[in-house]
Symmetry: C2
Subunit: 267 residues, 2 copies
């Protein structure tokens, strides 16, 4: 049976609310996902939360009820509470009727088995958590293995990133590393590092992509540092037709990734 | 000379702040853009604000100073104020040091000259203003003529949409219409309506796109209504490799649009 929380000052309420901050996520090794859609996606991938909180309405859907039951059966914490207290946990006026806390996976490079996919995304100093989530969602759709975040990127376990990923956070591998760690790891196995850049005339439609391909996309406002571009085996450019000299980082990643996949269609 | 505002309760402060709400934008026929980058982009396209407000630091950049001067010369209102009052205007703790209010353009379909571009975006009930802004930014990059928003979409003149557009709001045409208005307008001239859909086996890589092509993308969670798909001349699908059954709406638009452009390369 779920336990019931009726007090705003309950410690668990504070603890869940605190998980909106990166420091607390790090300290606890947990992150939040909100809403049945993502929580169901997680379960389909074999992930049950450590803790699931819900308002009465949140347990009405049979799928939600079965996840709550499975969470308890696995030793997790199931908490029935009021919509108002759920609002406090999520910091939103109109919260989803379910919120769950999951164990953060190990994000070291050593966890990545590059043979599992022929395409990987590498984001360098990606600052917008929405972009990180969208890149994960796109990685899943295009059949990439996951996302490696290099240097000081936003937290892929933030609520915004989890939401934008639409659950792809659970289906993709995620790694975090400095550039100094990433390059030796990259070169320790087969690898083609493809950078998206304005400093090249190489049209992304005509490039010889080779698996395993690591698609590197730089910071939203600054792009890739020169030294990072120099490390690339291939630089490609998406020609711009209008006044804009750039695309949103997640869009540039998607357009290039789907072209890489298209170029391999008849191999 | 700019006039100075030193009071938080000044009417102009309240008026600018109110422009964060759609109702006030409609009533005043104005919208806000924040930050030198977008404001400079607007000027390059020939748009000066009706009103520009800035903290002392905001006028330091020569480009900002010249835009402030031009705004006054054109009869606009230039307002020097404190960073705190600018915060109040923008509703942000760390506001950009410049905020400007622009006249909303006429967004009726009649304003669109389809012969000006061979590709146009059509968004149906797009709910996320960030997606709308990103679609505008992508439209500019891919050389589309603009974005037609059908039915009950988010406001393209919201602060979030303007920001995500990175200034493309000023370089693209924007129209708003109901489906019942859109279809007769569409069919009153040459048109290929291309819908992105899961209800087709037609791979987006192998489709016969024809100009002027109107790329129709549906609501973020529901996609296109059946009747709208039935109106399309062509339905295309981006094959999904992973567990995901969809892409972010702005990403799906971009991937399809760049493929349309690519398919026309050798025509």
């Amino acid at each position: 049976m779920p336990r019931e929380i009726t007090s705003f000052s309950n410690d668990t309420v504070k603890r869940i609310r605190a998980l909106r901050d990166k420091k607390a996520r790090r300290a606890e090794g947990l992150f939040l996902a909100e809403g049945l859609r993502i929580i169901a996606e997680a379960r389909d991938e074999g992930f049950l939360p450590e803790l699931i909180a819900f308002a009465p309405k949140g347990a009405e859907h049979p799928l939600a009820a079965s996840i709550i039951e499975a969470t308890e059966a696995a030793g997790g914490d199931a908490i029935l509470t009021s919509p108002d207290i759920l609002s406090k946990m999520t910091g939103k006026d109109n919260p989803q009727s379910l919120v769950a806390a999951y164990k953060q996976p190990d994000t070291s490079l050593a966890e990545i088995d590059r043979s599992k996919a022929d395409l990987w995304f590498v984001g360098e100093r990606i600052r917008d958590p929405g972009n990180i989530g969208t890149m994960l969602r796109t990685a899943d759709a295009v059949g990439a293995g996951g996302l490696i975040l290099v240097d000081d990127s936003a937290d892929p376990f933030s609520v915004e990133a989890v939401r934008a990923s639409m659950g792809a956070l659970f289906t993709n591998q995620i790694a975090q590393a400095s550039w100094e760690e990433f390059v030796p790891w990259l070169r320790s196995g087969p690898s083609q590092l493809v950078g998206t850049s304005l400093q090249t005339d190489h049209d992304y439609l005509d490039a010889p992509y080779a698996a395993p391909c690591f698609l590197l996309v730089g910071n939203e406002s600054q792009g890739l540092p020169e030294a990072y571009e120099a490390e690339c085996d291939l630089l490609v450019k998406i020609p711009m037709a209008g006044r804009a000299d750039s695309l949103n980082a997640a869009v540039a990643t998607a357009v290039t990734a789907f072209q890489i996949r298209a170029s391999w269609r008849n191999r």
